[in-house]
């Protein structure tokens, strides 16, 4: 068990190293000059060269990367080119909001997705089943910007149930979580439906039923824990998907997370911020996957014995 964990840890570190190299090289080859963004439109060629030297951007790629990596190992993400503030400060002030939104979104997508999936599986091949699957299809395909604005308009502006964007209380969290969660709930309802149908066919479910257990008890005590297993592994992957969606949702709802930070940094070629957010996202995804594996390990004895 400990050996497995260590092996995974080393793998994760290698993945992060790979991510940092790829991102760094891509940003280096980007046809846009960060120094121009700093120097402004009235700068002379000399000013531009001065700034390039100060930032070490005149050095070869590998020298620049080595400098970044040595800083990184000491926990130094550098300073933003345009804000001049430490990247770690910027990320630390925004990361809690993003994590909270992500937790809210996971809760929303599980609540919506699993209940839809269970109902659809139990009412298999009925109108109910079909309409739920159409709803989930729409959820998967709808652009988040539109979904977000629609929810905001109906539930915040028209009905006044929730605040019109912003951050701070639980009611601020509801609409952005649902917006972000709707995408995942579409996937989950389909996964849950097929997984549930599969499990309901198993011998142990028939046995449980034969014992004379109530229908609800069969579903919640015997079928659900088994049907949910493949779902848990997906949550880890979700974190990666959310990192993309979070940019849009945060900007619609004025949610002060790292998505907005990344978006503005990309537009202004603020490389230290882009690198920092990418790495933090990669860490979140790696940890998510790691946790998913460990949880599967704990709930499913079959995997445990294979190790």
């Amino acid at each position: 068990m400990i050996g497995y964990f260590l092996r995974r840890l080393v793998q994760s570190l290698l993945i992060l190293l790979g991510v940092s190299i790829i991102t760094f090289v891509l940003l280096y080859w980007l046809p846009a000059d960060p120094v121009r963004q700093i120097a402004g439109r009235s700068a002379t060629a000399q000013t531009v060269e001065n700034i390039r030297q100060q930032l070490g951007l005149d050095q070869p790629l590998w020298v620049q990367y080595w400098r970044y990596l040595t800083g990184l190992v000491q926990g130094d993400l550098g300073r933003s080119y345009l804000q001049k503030t430490e990247v770690s400060t910027l990320i630390a002030s925004r990361l809690p909001a993003s994590l909270l939104l992500m937790a809210g979104a996971i809760f929303a997508e599980l609540l919506l997705g699993l209940s839809m999936g269970i109902v659809a599986a139990l009412r298999r091949s009925t109108t109910m089943d079909q309409s739920l699957m159409i709803v989930s299809f729409i959820g998967v395909s709808a652009p988040q910007f539109v979904v977000g604005l629609l929810l905001l308009y109906v539930f915040a502006v028209q009905l006044g149930w929730f605040p019109i964007g912003g951050y701070g209380t639980f009611s601020h969290l509801v609409l952005p979580s649902i917006t972000l969660g709707i995408l995942g709930s579409g996937w989950y309802s389909r996964m849950m439906r097929s997984s549930m149908i599969e499990v309901l066919r198993q011998d142990y479910v028939r046995t449980a039923r034969a014992k004379g257990l109530t229908r609800l008890r069969v579903i919640f005590r015997h079928a659900l824990p088994n049907a949910i297993l493949p779902i848990i592994a997906m949550i880890g992957i979700d974190i990666g998907i959310f990192m993309g969606g979070i940019v849009v949702v945060e900007s619609v709802f004025g949610w002060p997370g790292i998505g907005q930070l990344a978006w503005q940094a990309i537009q202004r070629v603020d490389i230290p911020i882009i690198m920092g957010v990418t790495l933090v996202s990669a860490i979140a995804i790696v940890i998510g996957n790691l946790l998913a594996d460990l949880i599967s390990l704990m709930v499913d004895p079959r995997i445990r014995t294979e190790l």
């Binding site: 060629a45 910027l90 002030s93 619609v252």
Partner: protein
């Protein structure tokens, strides 16, 4: 006081012909109140040497002061931290008498030494100020820029409250430069204590001080009770909420939660707002010192042929492009916007005439047209505008492929001599840094900008015009200010003859405010304190 009146006359001639003397505050203005202003983009910094964005420009103006300033809502210069100033006869030496008793937000009194420190700081290459180049005319600037000196030779303290600035060349725009955010006076001890984080912990002499900053969420400005301009500001507090989509900000304004949406009225909501009399009545419209243009790369065939560039000028239907942005602009005929001194009245520009354009193209040897590329920034409405331009070009046989890229990539392409044949400037277009005709020339149409990585994307370099612009800006005698503007008008007319640009439109600004906001409309579309002059607006409830 004698000096003051003598020099006010100079300011009058350089700026717009309006009363630059005592600005009369609004008699209805009431003190007190807290307003909410929103912006989409986060505030990167409040360091006056660094900040150069839409959202932080007027915030910095409210936190800091410079030697010069403008009458609220106008482009008329007035003295700021300088109580008065004199200019030597040859225009080479400016002597500023500083106000006494002005305090920084940290309680220390501002001195002439602070002015010297601030100018040395902004021009020092290690500060990495995007505004350093504006100080080119101060003696010793070149040594500073190259890193050979660590103080400007031309800026010296003459007495406890007197600063003397000597120039290396006469510069008719110098007083405007002294009113730029980059020329704000900062206290040395606060800058040194915060280091690179001064932008997050600003200390100035301005009408407001920074009370709270929650990164990514909100900034709170509190009234400076000891501000040196009596009775200013009116508001007790301003809360800036950042990260808000313009469309959401407008919904919140309609719901009474926001007083001023800093990014204006989003295109999707414009018709709705203007169609509702109650809301339209609270919309403020104003001109801005802005021109949107298409650059034609004069070093890349076939745009090296002036006739081809003239033909393109005649092919563009500007009125249709203006419709794409809800009519929120007026058609441009020349590089300068109409509200800028030096604008050539009565010049019609190239009229929209596809037949004449085709004929001229044929004369230039391109009867069959040609293929080219149009670079454009990838945010709405710019790609749609590019499509309209593409259709207009197709009308005279030119096939233009659209390259829709991120802002930084378009800027990079424009800075290469052989990469972008045409660029639509939208989203990156020139808004004047200060209200003077010279500000539309150097970096974007002069030889100094036609360098690798420069902003002169048409790579137009006319050395005769460069000389003429230098001699125009050497005219510092107020009696000859009219002559100077005449020269600038001629410069832009020669440029139109050579046609390196297609001037397309001058954008109008539309801002909205909540019912309780008071103060003249001009404060909400201030040409200098962009977008809103926070020091002079007030609430009526």
């Amino acid at each position: 006081m004698k000096n003051f009146f003598a020099t006010t006359a100079i300011a009058l001639c350089f700026a717009l012909p309006a009363g630059a003397e005592d600005y009369q505050p609004d008699p209805n203005a009431k003190s007190g109140g807290n307003i909410v202003v929103t912006y989409k983009d986060d505030v990167a910094t409040l360091d006056p040497a660094i900040g150069y964005d839409w959202q932080n420009w007027s915030m910095i103006k409210s936190l800091f002061d410079g030697l010069m300033d403008y009458d609220p809502g106008t482009t008329d210069l007035r003295p700021g931290l300088a109580e008065s100033y004199t200019i030597s006869d040859d225009g080479m030496v400016f002597t500023f008498e500083m106000r006494n008793g002005v305090q920084f937000h940290n309680g220390r009194e501002m001195t002439a030494e602070d002015v010297v420190y601030s100018f040395n700081r902004v021009t020092n290459p290690t500060t990495q100020s995007p505004g350093a180049g504006f100080f080119w005319s101060i003696k010793g600037y070149d040594a500073m820029a190259s890193g050979e000196a660590d103080a400007l030779e031309g800026v010296t303290v003459e007495g406890p409250s007197t600063v003397r600035i000597e120039l290396s060349r006469p510069d008719a725009t110098f007083l405007h430069v002294m009113a730029l955010n980059f020329a704000s006076v900062v206290p040395r001890e606060a800058v040194e204590a915060s280091g690179d984080d001064f932008g997050k912990n600003p200390v100035g002499t301005g009408a407001f001080s920074l009370a709270e900053w929650t990164i990514g969420q909100r900034l709170v400005f509190a009234k400076n009770e000891t501000y040196w301009r009596n009775g200013i500001p009116y508001l007790d507090q301003i809360t800036f909420e950042v990260g808000q989509e313009p469309i959401v900000a407008l919904l919140r304004l309609q719901n009474g939660e926001v007083d001023v949406p800093g990014d204006g009225i989003p295109p999707a909501k414009f018709q709705e707002v203007m169609g509702d009399p109650a809301q339209a009545g609270r919309v403020v419209e104003g001109g801005q010192l802005h021109t949107g243009y298409i650059t034609l790369n004069t070093q890349m065939p076939p745009f090296d042929n002036a006739d081809v560039r003239r033909a393109v000028n005649m092919a563009i239907n500007k009125d249709r492009i203006i419709q794409i942005i809800n009519g929120r602009a007026i058609a441009a005929t020349q590089p300068l916007p109409p509200t800028m001194p030096g604008y050539t009245e009565g010049y019609e520009g190239y009229a929209f005439d596809p037949e004449a354009a085709k004929a001229m193209l044929a004369k230039a040897g391109f009867a069959e047209g040609f293929e080219t590329e149009l670079y454009v920034m990838n945010t709405d409405p710019n790609p749609r505008i590019a499509q309209a331009i593409q259709q207009d070009l197709a009308g005279i046989g030119i096939t233009a492929g659209i390259k829709s890229l991120a802002q930084a990539s378009v800027i990079a392409a424009g800075g290469e001599a052989d990469q972008a044949p045409m660029i639509w400037s939208g989203g990156m277009a020139w808004i004047a840094d200060f209200p003077d005709a010279a500000n539309f020339y150097g970096p974007i149409l002069g030889c100094s900008g036609a360098i690798q990585g420069g902003w002169n994307w048409s790579w137009y370099c006319n050395e005769a015009l460069d000389e003429k612009s230098a001699s125009a800006d050497a005219i510092v005698d107020p009696a000859r200010a009219g002559e100077r503007l005449e020269m600038w008008s001629e410069i832009y007319m020669t440029i139109m003859e050579d046609a390196p640009w297609v001037p397309v439109f001058n954008e109008q600004r539309y801002t909205m405010k909540s019912p309780r906001m008071g103060g003249k409309d001009a404060l909400y579309v201030d040409p200098v304190s962009i977008p809103v002059n926070y020091d002079y607006v007030f609430v009526t409830d």
